[in-house]
Amino acid sequence: MKIDRRCFLSLVIGGAVGTTLTPVPWKLTDDIAIWSQNWPWTPVPEDGPSKYENTVCAMCQGGCGITVRKIKQRAVKIEGMSGHPVNKGSVCPMGISSLQYLYGPSRVKSPMKRTGKRGEGKWEKISWDDAIAEVSDKLKELRNQEEPHKVACTADSDRNTVGYLFDRFLAAYGSPNFIRTPSSEDANELALYLAQGRNATVGWDIENADFILSFGVPLMDSPDSAGRMFSAYSALDEKAELVQIEPRLSDTAAQSKRWIPAKPGTEGVLALGLAHVIVKDKLYDSDFVKNYSSGFEDSEDEDGNTRKGFKSLLEDYSPASVAETTGIDKAKIITLARDFAGAGRPLAICGRPIVQGSVDEALAIHALNALVGNINKKGGMVAIPEPDYLGWSEMQRDETASKGRQQPRIDGAGTDRFPNARHLLHRLPEEINSAGDKAPLQVLLVAGGNPLYTIPDTEAAKKAFDRIPFIVSFSPFMDETAEYADLILPNHHFLERYEDIPTPRGYAKPVTGLARPVVDPQHDTMHTGDAVISIAKNMDEFIREAFPWDDYRDFLEQTFSDRWKSLEKEVYSVRKDFTPADWEDAFDTPSKKYEFYPTSRQMPPDSERDRLPACRPLEIPGDGDSKELPLLFVPYVSVRIAEGAIANPPFMTKTVDDTVIKEGEVFVEINPETAKENDLSEGDSAVLKTSSAEARVRVHLFEGIMPGLVAMPAGLGHTAFSDYISGKGENAYSLLEAVSDPASGLNTGWGSRASLSRA
């Protein structure tokens, strides 16, 4: 019997035929199909009962109520909380994206101590006990040297419990340097204090106004308080008119019925120009002006000198001269003034993004509201009192603390130079860099903001930070400042913690929101309130006694006392008994009236200015060399780009157009006319140079921007957080310089002289 190759072939053929007569091929095909549809590396989200829990979003200070959808212990979706008084169910992209931060790679997972050089990214995990001890020891040492005033702290709010704990700590410890992170609230709040004599926040009753005159307020462009702005906007009456004054066709301008592009920086001048027409045409509320205001007419002071009143000031702001300054047609100014004053419930609002703002400009715009008599009225400008619950008794202080607290502030706020200002974070680099050999600041506690990203002129800020021997960050995320710190004491994410959120900026009713834990802490983090209390408990007797609470939760419950239960359940509380004060009782100025001429306003010793809100176009850096820097650089904000301390999570970057950012490069908007003059076309790579820095950008031509301007979104160009966030675009703040408003010290550096040339 011969066996050859063909026998084997036959065996194989037999096998093949046999196999087709078995289930093998058919069953395998089916199983492989199923297998290939369920790769093991494709995640399968675990299913389970779904429930919804309410809390308050703390991604910004906007205080929107949110509803978190949970599957078992996982938070899977954020939606607007219907029925919440602030946002009424509306929520912004940032709020929805916040889960990407909760579970994302930029979290700081435990206390960390720097081991390498600053900013090098070398860290060592340490225990919470060690971390607290490390800070306490450093602070004790400084106090023993009788230098407690060389400690400063930044926090996002001075009206909530965490800000309060820090301020209380500094008071007991002996430092005056509690610095609130800057916002447009600063100029508004100061103007309100000067004109009305109240420590209050400015509430704009947009929901009930029928003519809203916005001086560059990014109502629909800023992620800050967006939920409330959107709900207010959609609640507006169809007949209500929104007028936007802004040199660029922003999303707010696009939604407005009238878009009036004024030359940037001249908004205050325009406000006075409008006031001029209103006064000249006698369109103002004569009852209010006559009976409840002072400083309108010229008067005599105690020494018998004539004091110029607001009315006389306005003489310099005739439509013709204002038209020249602002670039707006004279007739348009007159019509606008008449329409505004003639509306049923007119409201003028201010608060430009990026900067703190000019107090003169804010006073001028507040004066418009005063002229039409809408102060504390429905649809008007309402003074919202500070929260009433932070009423802890004064603590006992030792001598070191009292002496330290009396020292001038490191940022110069409240000093002779800037007598009215309260918080001037942008001045830190200047003060530190110009100091002599001995560093004026020994310890910086960063519990809010991300100063190394948001302080204008990042390079100067970095230089100043290099001179601070000990920097502690409380950030839950590895942001630019945390990356540069010596020690990180990571806070919980807001979905893991309690935190009270005071009345949001611009909201016209006092409301307290409470963020509460929706998920368990994902990492070894600690509530910053607990961290402060723990540090205080490690200190000397007087400081220890100023912090009698077990922990933050205990402090919070005691603070809210009988309101705690309902606040925890409802996540917000509105002061039902609140009605804006009547004009008789509204003003706590020396004259007890609304002061067009704020008598309590202290002027710096060398100031040529008067206390009246005389507005001039705001200064910007680099004005001297307009030949080399022929253009104006203006950052803009977009609701799709987080512009401040927190960076864009991937979801938000995903929403941004490819004419704003593309393949890591940011686009600047210029008018086609400007493009022609500078020999640029759509998509060109270019170098944007300002007086402080330069950046590589690409060019997008947009008809909706004033010729001569170069606009770039703020909030890109982060260098920290994670690979999903960093390295996309350029940081607009680094191209700016801080400009301290000569009258108040507030940062008004809204732009910069610039040039744009093809790369």
């Binding site: 549809q37 790769w39 590396w41 494709t42 995640p43 399968v44 989200p45 675990e46 389970g48 599957i71 996982r74 899977v76 979706k77 954020i78 939606e79 607007g80 169910g89 929520v91 912004c92 992209p93 929805i96 889960l99 990407q100 909760l102 579970y103 994302g104 790679p105 629909m220 967006a226 959107f230 709900s231 906007y233 066709l249 999303d251 707010t252 696009a254 592009p261 609701v639 799709r640 991937p650 979801f651 970057t653 995903k654 929403t655 157009d657 490819d658 004419t659 950012i661 593309k662 393949e663 008018n671 086609p672 006319e673 947009f702 008809e703 909706g704 004033m706 994670s722 999903y724 996309k728």
Partner: protein
């Protein structure tokens, strides 16, 4: 077993987007990513490779400063009925029956496990509503935690697109079954984008049901659809009072007016 016809009344779910109200904030997009487990990449500024189920486009009237106007156009899947109902352009070309016309709802389904990635549908869709997964999605760190179990995660090599949040329809039906109801009220089935829109520019509901807001809005005089002359019969309508916006939603010649073109199209269709 008793045959009980549940929810058999034909529905045509559709959307009306008020372009005059849309501020372009992008909340619809982000709500959609979050609801539908839309993947993201390390560099989301790389727009060529970015996936979106709904995308908001910015357009302007091209007039020189300061007469410029801008408008935002949110664009989900148009859920076309097709020239003959049930034959949207994408469904007709799919060789794998991975995309189909859902008769009870009018929603165009996309079954990712069935798709083998030929991308024929992507080419057939005149609205660029379909996107291809060139890579396997990756959720870094603990980000898998936020994934929604109601929507399956897609893998490399398949097409994905807007489903009008069909899983929410399923959930609404479940609830209706529990409560022994046949009808799903308007507010019980809303897409994530419509729900998230902070200015209520997006209205969603059954176009055939005259109690639903979309029924009325879609018949308004300012209502229109994108590229209407292709006869794809989308179920996503737009409204605007601005003529220039209306004009850029199709390739109109200078001498054409959108209203007349639409009338002519309807007449031509009727005569067929």
């Amino acid at each position: 077993m008793a045959k009980k016809a549940q929810h058999t009344a034909t529905k045509r779910y559709g959307m009306v987007i008020d372009l005059d109200k849309c501020t372009g904030c992008g909340a619809c997009m982000v709500a959609c990513y979050s609801e539908n487990n839309v993947p993201f990449r390390e560099d989301e500024s790389d727009k060529m490779l970015s996936l979106n189920w709904i995308q908001v486009f910015k357009v302007d009237n091209q007039k020189p400063f300061p007469d410029t106007e801008v408008c935002y156009i949110p664009k989900p899947c148009m859920q076309c009925d097709g020239d003959h109902v049930g034959h949207p352009p994408c469904v007709s070309v799919c060789p794998a029956v991975a995309t189909d016309y859902d008769q009870p709802t009018g929603i165009v389904s996309q079954i990712s496990p069935r798709c083998f990635g030929c991308r024929y549908c992507m080419a057939a869709c005149p609205y660029h509503a379909r996107q291809f997964n060139w890579w396997d999605p990756v959720w870094p760190a603990e980000m898998k935690q936020y994934l929604n179990p109601d929507v399956s995660v897609r893998m490399r090599g398949v097409i994905e697109k807007c489903s009008f949040c069909y899983h929410r329809y399923q959930k609404a039906r479940n609830k209706a079954y529990m409560e022994g109801r046949d009808e799903i009220p308007e507010d019980e089935y809303q897409t994530a984008c419509a729900e998230a829109c902070p200015v209520n520019a997006i209205t969603f509901g059954d176009l055939l049901n005259d109690e639903h807001e979309v029924h009325k809005l879609s018949k308004g005089k300012n209502a229109f659809r994108l590229l209407e002359r292709l006869n794809t019969n989308p179920k996503v309508y737009y409204t605007t009072t601005k003529d220039w916006v209306r004009r850029i939603t199709d390739n109109y010649l200078e001498n054409e007016t959108p209203g007349d073109v639409e009338k002519a199209r309807k007449a031509q269709k009727a005569s067929h």
